[in-house]
């Protein structure tokens, strides 16, 4: 056949390509041939990137948020399970690198006191012990605009203190309970105390904060988030040698959380840079973190249809495994604060990121406004306060290349609320901790 064809070509005279007149041919209205793109099914890098693009387009074009979440977590592969409450050493550095978070010691300045947020933002970083002057000036500054506004009544710390003491005394002293179950001390006294405290404080502060009046209180809700960060090479198995994103999943169970219908205001602008994110060269399994494969869940505590879709405050109770005495006994005193910080960072990242996904953002469609939430981590006596601002969801290997934004977490050290409960009296009550808690609960958008 080839020889026949060649003879035909060599024969002169019969020429089958016509002469084209230059200039007479107008460019066609639509391209004659389809665009030349990489294949979809080939085993090549361009085919992989084309498949990824098609997937991204599918997610972008999803009609509802539920459909978007379903497509986002459709592929189930082994992923690292990140536990917010962990005994791993220096877990907060690892968690900050996984979630691209900057830790700023101290709490952000109160919205009433902070006129230009950019000007005030470096201050908490510069002052090492920011809480004492911060709290001393914040109530004063917070109280002076309010009588000028003429709306809110005077904040009665004495009454709130008596409510707190009553809750504490009821749970620890007055109510006759059986002995706590083995290693379940936290469910016996601090758990009910925290529930009682938050519910009564939220109810009494709802006068001053209309956002609390429209809030929804969850007891032991579930908060889940799934994300990709970084790349690794598959080590063994039939997919050996391929480059895969590193998948993480947080499954968190806060003791209590408050969800609100309106978002909390931003603390600093979206593009602010308040520090550095630690870079860790080791594999996450060195932390230790272990892989498991199950459903990729993204959940804030209730489904997308709930009107209270933004988070306000979470309350975490540390389990018996992570109590202070254990760390002191093993001579790891510096890890006590690490426990609180890692819990705050991981839980709040999961919650704010899940809230952002409920609004339709994901790592290809980054957030256009920052998401702010707060958390209180406690073991019943010591309280640590955290405030988190989510500025970016784009943490995958491709999207993080040109992403200058970082998430920010403000956090305090743990401080005791009281010294000891004896004979129906609470000794050594610390008003500062109560004031922090009250300010957290009173946080609301500016227009309310």
């Amino acid at each position: 056949m080839a020889a026949l064809g060649a003879r035909r070509l060599l024969r002169p005279g019969r020429r089958w390509f016509s002469e084209t007149v230059p200039g007479a041919l107008s460019p066609p209205a639509s391209p004659l041939y389809p665009p030349v793109v990489a294949s979809i099914t080939a085993k090549s890098k361009t085919a992989k990137s084309r498949r990824l693009q098609r997937f991204n387009q599918r997610v972008h074009a999803a009609a509802t948020v539920e459909e978007k979440l379903r497509l986002y977590g459709k592929l189930q592969r082994p992923k690292y399970m990140v536990y917010p409450q962990t005994f791993a050493l220096n877990a907060d550095r690892w968690y900050r690198s996984f979630t691209r978070t900057v830790l700023v010691p101290g709490l952000p300045p109160r919205a009433a006191a902070a006129k230009p947020p950019a000007g005030r933002a470096p201050e908490p970083r510069a002052e090492a012990s920011a809480e004492a002057p911060g709290v001393a000036e914040a109530p004063g500054a917070a109280k002076t605009p309010e009588p000028a506004a003429g709306a809110a009544p005077y904040l009665d710390i004495g009454e709130l203190r008596s409510l707190t003491c009553d809750a504490l005394l009821q749970e620890s002293f007055y109510q006759n309970k059986k002995r706590p179950f083995l290693y379940r001390d936290q469910d016996h006294t601090p758990g009910p105390f925290l529930t009682q405290l938050v519910s009564t404080l939220a109810a009494s502060l709802s006068v001053r904060n209309p956002l609390l009046a429209a809030s929804s209180l969850d007891l032991k809700p579930e908060v889940n988030y799934y994300w990709h960060h970084g790349e690794e090479v598959v080590v063994h198995g039939h997919r050996k040698g391929r480059v895969d994103p590193v998948r993480f999943q947080i499954d968190d169970n806060p003791h209590l959380q408050i969800r609100v219908p309106k978002q909390l205001p931003e603390v600093v602008p979206l593009e602010s840079d308040l520090g550095d994110v630690p870079v860790i060269d080791h594999k996450p399994s060195k932390l230790p973190l272990f892989k498991k494969q199950y459903e990729n869940k993204v959940f804030i505590g209730s489904k997308v249809a709930d009107p209270c879709c933004y988070g306000h405050t979470q309350f975490h109770l540390l389990p018996d495994k992570l109590k202070r005495e254990r760390f002191i006994r093993e001579r790891l005193e510096d890890q006590i604060e690490v426990v609180y910080r890692s819990n705050g960072i991981a839980s709040l990242f999961a919650w704010t990121a899940a809230q952002a996904m409920y609004q339709g953002f994901w790592n290809e469609a980054d957030v256009t406004r920052p998401f702010v939430s707060q958390a209180v981590v406690t073991d019943g006596k010591y309280f640590a306060f955290f405030c988190y601002q989510l500025n970016t969801l784009a943490l995958t290997a491709e999207t993080i290349k040109n992403n200058p934004r970082k998430n920010i977490c403000w956090g305090t050290d743990s401080k005791p609320l009281y010294d000891v409960v004896e004979d129906g009296n609470v000794k050594g009550f610390n008003d500062e901790v109560l004031l922090h808690l009250v300010h957290f609960l009173l946080n609301r958008p500016k227009e309310l």
Partner: protein, 313 residues
């Protein structure tokens, strides 16, 4: 065997009145509570508990019953903005109650975990007037001859007669008056749950036990007619049906069958909503039942709120 409330009435020497007492009904009808937006919130809370609370498709009763209760309590507590004395309340979970009394030479005892108890610093004022209390003298308790009234009760040898809710709380507890008891029937399997009639009987017995223990603490152990009747309320639910009860203890003289009786007002089988559909039901490509809460009854929530506010409004 036969309706449990009648048996409980005989055991506690109580007269039954259908419906809620006029004081509580007055709070229900009081329009100043701002109830329309509260109804909206209550509907959201029901949807949250029944539809949105879980990452799975539908929550089970063990999950949605307590969540619904907590949500309703959250709305009620937020009313303390308008009524500051509402903050003088405290919830106590897993309270153990024990009370003993004699009834026509039979020694009876109520013991056990009485659900969730709400205490307040101030007692609820008596709901029935003096005339109504005296009128109960003429009321004859229903007997069940030939069935002994202690049928279906467990007979045990009691070595110690335990008596107080001081057993539950120590002396000096500021919130010393039991206000309302809450019973949540949240077992998943229907046979593990109490039927509405049995639930009402259980509510009556525990309300009586709490009131009796309080009376013995306040007035001593001698059986007598109380000058200040003690009122304890009780609400029982299985996540959809609500039973409301207000119990007034007029007398601790329970040995004889005549004299002043105690009073109980029961409002039974109030549905909060008809159906909660998580996934729309589709038959032959047509949506027969859309997803969501249907048949929401705001009156039931109003009664819940009224019982909560009773005593402070």
């Amino acid at each position: 065997v036969f309706p449990g409330v009648r048996q409980a009435q005989w055991l506690t020497k109580t007269k039954l009145v259908e419906g809620l007492p006029p004081a509580v009904q007055g709070i229900v009808d009081n329009a100043a509570l701002g109830l329309p937006e509260l109804e909206e919130r209550a509907k959201h809370m029901v949807s949250h508990a029944r539809l949105w609370d879980t990452a799975e498709v539908a929550p089970r009763r063990e999950q949605y019953c307590p969540v619904l209760f907590e949500n309703l309590m959250h709305i009620c507590r937020l009313m303390s903005g308008k009524y500051p004395s509402l903050s003088k309340r405290m919830l106590a979970r897993n309270c153990r109650i024990a009370a003993t009394w004699e009834r026509e030479s039979i020694l009876l005892q109520v013991r056990g975990l009485s659900g969730i108890l709400m205490n307040s610093m101030t007692p609820i004022p008596p709901v029935a007037s003096k005339e109504e209390i005296l009128a109960t003298k003429e009321h004859v308790l229903e007997t069940f001859y030939p069935i002994a009234p202690t049928i279906d009760l467990q007979e045990v040898n009691v070595y110690k007669e335990l008596n107080d809710t001081g057993q539950c709380f120590r002396d000096g507890y500021p919130y010393s008056h039991p206000h309302t008891l809450f019973f949540l029937e949240s077992a998943n399997v229907r046979t593990d749950r109490f039927r509405p009639e049995q639930l009402r009987a259980k509510m009556l017995m525990f309300a009586f036990g709490n009131a009796l223990a309080k009376a013995k603490v306040l007035h001593g152990n001698d059986p007598k007619v109380l000058d200040q009747p003690i009122v304890v309320q009780s609400i029982g639910t299985d996540g959809q049906l609500f039973q409301f009860m207000v119990f007034q203890l007029n007398t601790t003289d329970l040995v004889s069958n005549d004299g002043v009786k105690n009073l109980v007002w029961i409002d039974s089988d109030q549905n909060l909503y008809e159906r909660a559909q998580c996934v729309p039901e589709v038959k032959k490509r047509v949506v027969t039942k859309p997803a969501g809460i249907s048949g929401f009854q705001p009156d039931t929530f109003k009664k819940f709120l009224a019982l909560y506010l009773h005593g402070t409004v």
